[in-house]
Amino acid sequence: MSAVLEVSGLTKRFGGLAAVDDVTFQVSPGEHCVLLGPNGAGKTTLFHLITGTFPATTGRIALFGRDVTTMGAAARCRLGVGRTFQISNVFPTLTPVQNVLLAMGGGHDGGWSLFRSGRGDRTTRDRAEALLERVGIAEAAHTETASLSYGARRQLELALALAGEPRAVFLDEPCAGLSPAERSRVVDIIEALPESITLVMVEHDMDVAFQVARRLVVMNRGRLIADGSPEAVRADATVQEVYLGAA
């Protein structure tokens, strides 16, 4: 089976700065891969290139064996990718249930009916509520999203990434700014993802990264500096230098 994600020779320049510099790696089906690196390493830029927020300067990106280098963000998502944003990007005036209903229809660009009710049928609503239960915000399912706490909105963000039954989920620092309790809840949800779902996650917190990852890809100054199992990366001299300083 072909790789879920294939990045080859990928470079993104902002003026003279190469934020992502000749990056090549692959993610196989079912892998739980975490992109780790200090602030400014280029992780989030790489994430944006993969999800299609902006185009690459050079290089090639393939999702599920299809070249998506010039494809728009929405079309990439319709291939079966669920994603989160680093800063929560949810629908503030709608309820969490409506948020999830929208997320469930996005994968096939659905919801075109002018006459069928936007409340969805019984089974769809049940599925939406079950997902909110899973991410831990079931009790707020029918309140206005704008009134949710920061942590609850992060959890909803995760629900939106999972709602469309994606084949792969791309998460951008899903634990950023969460309390320890909320953080462990999010980590639990991620760890409980079925084997069939491929995970690519950007993280700069070492603890979260080592907890979730079965494979770690470490970046620094736009380049990949290490790639391997958490144990191997932990023992890697270059990684230690980047994270702990040359001392």
Binding site: T51, G72, A73, A74, A75, C77, R78, R83, F85, N89, V90, F91, P92, T93, L94, Q98, L101, L102, A103, G105, G106, G107, H108, D109, G110, G111, W112, S113, L114, F115, R116, S117, G118, R119, G120, L160, G164
Partner: protein
């Protein structure tokens, strides 16, 4: 369900207006209904999609002119009305390219489209009668049956506006309506979920043009006269003001806004010479103190009670 009862009650109350026996009130209420429907078409874009159009007056005018030309040219109503609505929809499809922009750029590009339509109305005199407009538009008639006086016409308008309101209420609570609200709230998220957001905004824009077109059709029949005034920027702006005054994205809001503006223009203007100033003051007060419009006021009153 409660809302349906409320709408039915309002429709019943309005149905008593012709019994007052004063054609002034009948005419004014008809105007409120017609311009309220135009305001609904603008409100749809503002509150459901998050875009402020300044060209709905053009859809309104093209439909009104089409009815005027066809009816005075001897076409039957059953042909003139669909042709007029189709004309508005076609114009909506053409102007719909505006949705590729957003914010201020959307306002400006729709303003430019609207002004183009106005200049066609004033300068293509062979077709539109120029500044003289088109007069003597007959009342609508289907197979020889139709309203013969003002109060009968009033009931036709009330029934058709009521029908459009029901259709509108259905659309904004539909699956499609929900996706529009998603675009309004967070378009980048909708894109990241896989939605073709520009296509959806385009469809919404065309729906808006159809509602404006229906309002234009009713305007031509009730006014029995169409001139470039129907295509002026003021029509688009006032429809936007009605939508904002009424507020809250409800079905009733735009009609409340239309009541206030039409009321000031037709009643207060007779008593006070500087009535546009009063209109401006009302508008400023609502925007500053009632950001959710007049409909939002009821929520405030409810909350103020212990």
């Amino acid at each position: 369900m409660g809302r349906l009862i409320l709408l039915a009650a309002i429709a019943l109350a309005l149905a008593t207006v012709p019994m007052l026996g004063n054609p002034f009130w009948v005419g004014l209420t008809m105007q409120v209904l017609v311009f309220g429907l135009l305001a609904v078409s603008v409100d749809f874009m503002i509150r459901q999609v998050g875009l402020f159009p300044l060209c709905n007056g053009a859809f309104f005018a093209v439909a009104a002119y089409t009815v005027a030309m066809l009816e005075t040219g001897g076409w039957p109503t059953v042909a003139a009305v669909p042709a007029a609505i189709a004309a508005a929809a076609l114009m909506g499809m053409a102007f719909g390219i505006s949705v590729r922009t957003g914010g201020v750029y959307f306002i400006l590009i729709t303003l430019a489209f609207g002004q183009m339509a106005l200049s066609v109305a004033t300068s293509w005199t062979a077709l539109t009668g120029g500044d003289n407009g088109i007069t003597n538009i007959p009342y609508p008639a289907v197979a020889g049956v139709g309203p013969t006086d003002l109060s009968q016409m009033f009931f036709v308008v009330l029934a058709l506006v009521g029908l459009m309101v029901l259709v509108y209420a259905r659309i904004i609570t539909s699956q499609f309506g929900l996706t529009l609200n998603g675009i309004r709230d967070a378009e980048t998220r909708m894109v990241a979920l896989g939605y073709r957001t520009v296509t959806r905004k385009y469809v919404a824009f065309v729906i808006s043009s159809v509602f404006a077109g229906v309002a234009g059709v009713l305007y031509a029949y009730t006014n029995q006269f169409v001139s470039p005034a129907a295509a002026s920027l003021l029509v688009s702006v006032e429809a936007g003001l009605m939508a904002i005054l009424g507020g809250s994205g409800t079905v009733i809001g735009p009609f409340l806004g239309a009541t206030v503006i039409m009321g000031i223009r037709n009643i207060v203007s007779a008593m006070v010479p500087g009535w546009p100033i009063l209109m401006g003051l009302v508008f400023i007060a609502v925007v500053l103190f009632l950001p959710r419009g007049l409909v939002g006021l009821t929520g405030r009153i409810k909350r103020a009670r212990p």
